[in-house]
Amino acid sequence: MFKKILFATNASPACDAAAKIAFELAQKYDAELTLFHVFGEPSRGASQRVKSYTTGEEAELGPDYVDWVKQEMADTYDDLAAKYITPVYAAKAGIPSTEILRLARDMDADCIIMGAHARQDDTAAERFRGIVGTTMQKVAQRAKCPVLIISRPCETCFWYFNQIIFGTDFSKASLAAFQFAYKMASHIGCKLHLFHALDIQVSQAGIPPGQKSIETRIAEARDKIQEHYVNLMDNFDNYEITVWEGVPYVELLKYAREVSGDLIVMAHHTRELDPDEALFGSTVEQVVLRSACPVASVNRPDKL
């Protein structure tokens, strides 16, 4: 399933939950694991200086400094490396999202794993930071491979998935997400939930829809799931179609709770898509913040 996994980390405790899953996945699939840390912003002048993203301190940038950062990473993940597999350590100065995407491309990674945040914070404080504009969002939007985002320690997911939830808004990018979810489910032999939430708020221009209209639209959405996704599955019958009405990210979280989902797969839309057609762009961010299980963002079929 995965041959090369890139784990993007800032080597802080905020990435511990993601680190554990990265090591477990790499061992499970006998994959090559690269731990990558973009440690600071390089100076623009002739002097090779770097300003740390974590502390704000400036230092002389050279091979010794990079080696020191790698050694720090190795010390941080010593226990996990001893328990699971020995990873490759990589470190670089630059813009985190750009460098992560560059390395993923260069090493031909088939999965990027990252934590949702660079810092551990209060849940209440997270509303100020949000996710918009952060490294996670940029990577999830542009990566050619699936991006697995982990926001908190997962107690029930991994070693094997039991319940994969694929959330769709029927966009083109959602088809790539489906292909990944289906591939995972059929590879593992677990249950695949095909889920859609009717966003009533955006559909009726301020006029609340009647019950009959909602029921008709739910039936239409079920048919659409059958046509777009179920027809693509060969002999796989361990699936369930569910359509709820409401705010997509709220309904998805409710559904994940109800079925004890241990992986949510959805598309993180690219900028080219019409925002009205791409309900799941903001949904991914809302779900990632709150999900008890990992969220896989898949935008392109290139690396599936």
Binding site: Y53, T54, T55, G56, A118, D122, T123, A124, A125, R127, F128, R152, C154, E155, T156, V247, Y249, V250, L253, K254, A256, R257, V259, S260, G261, L289, R290, S291, A292, C293
Partner: protein
């Protein structure tokens, strides 16, 4: 009693000047709220149920209300916390990013005077815990190393919206909580 203060009772009704507020709640959103002794998180949900306009303040309140209603009186209270505290934080941040001030409200559990994040708890296990209002915490350039506390007051809007936000992180499957 503060001027313009309203009081939340254990049964979920709000009182203003000793009179039950039976209908329009929206004009009271900016009123200072006090909690009568015996108010629990369950009282908060009863309030949201009795004043449906409050549910519109957050996308998460309606599903949380369903969870709390389903829990009823049968759910066990978590023994990992003794009570709940709602409090305000003013945090001055110097780095990373440009310097800024963040002001936000939090709901946390209290165990032996220590604050505990609620995102790993089931909402059902919190509804019977006492809900209290805490002091304002002023964090200066750091993660709680330099902190002052002050008495303050909270509006009804802050209480409803702040609790809904923090509990929106509690949509955990039961098996996750059990294993943890």
């Amino acid at each position: 009693m503060l001027m313009e203060a309203i009081t939340l009772m254990p049964d979920g009704w709000i009182y203003k000047k000793d009179k039950k507020v039976a209908a329009d709640i929206l004009p009271l959103l900016s009123s200072t709220i006090c909690l009568k002794k015996g108010v629990t998180l369950g009282s908060f949900f009863k309030m949201a149920g009795q004043y449906p306009d409050l549910v519109r303040l957050s996308d998460y309140l309606a599903p949380l209300l369903e969870i709390a209603a389903a829990a009823g009186s049968h759910s066990g209270a978590s023994e990992d916390i003794q009570k709940l505290v709602f409090y305000k934080t003013i945090a001055m941040k110097g780095f990373p990013g440009t310097p800024r001030v963040e002001i936000y409200n939090s709901l946390k559990g209290i165990q032996d005077e220590k604050k505990i994040l609620l995102k790993f708890f089931q909402v059902e296990s919190l509804v019977h815990h006492e809900l209290t209002l805490g002091k304002l915490e002023h964090v200066i350039f750091g993660d709680g190393q330099d902190m002052f506390t002050y008495d303050t007051c909270y509006t009804l809007f802050e209480l409803v919206e702040g609790i809904a936000w923090d509990l929106s992180f509690c949509f955990n499957p039961i098996q996750c909580t059990l294993r943890r």
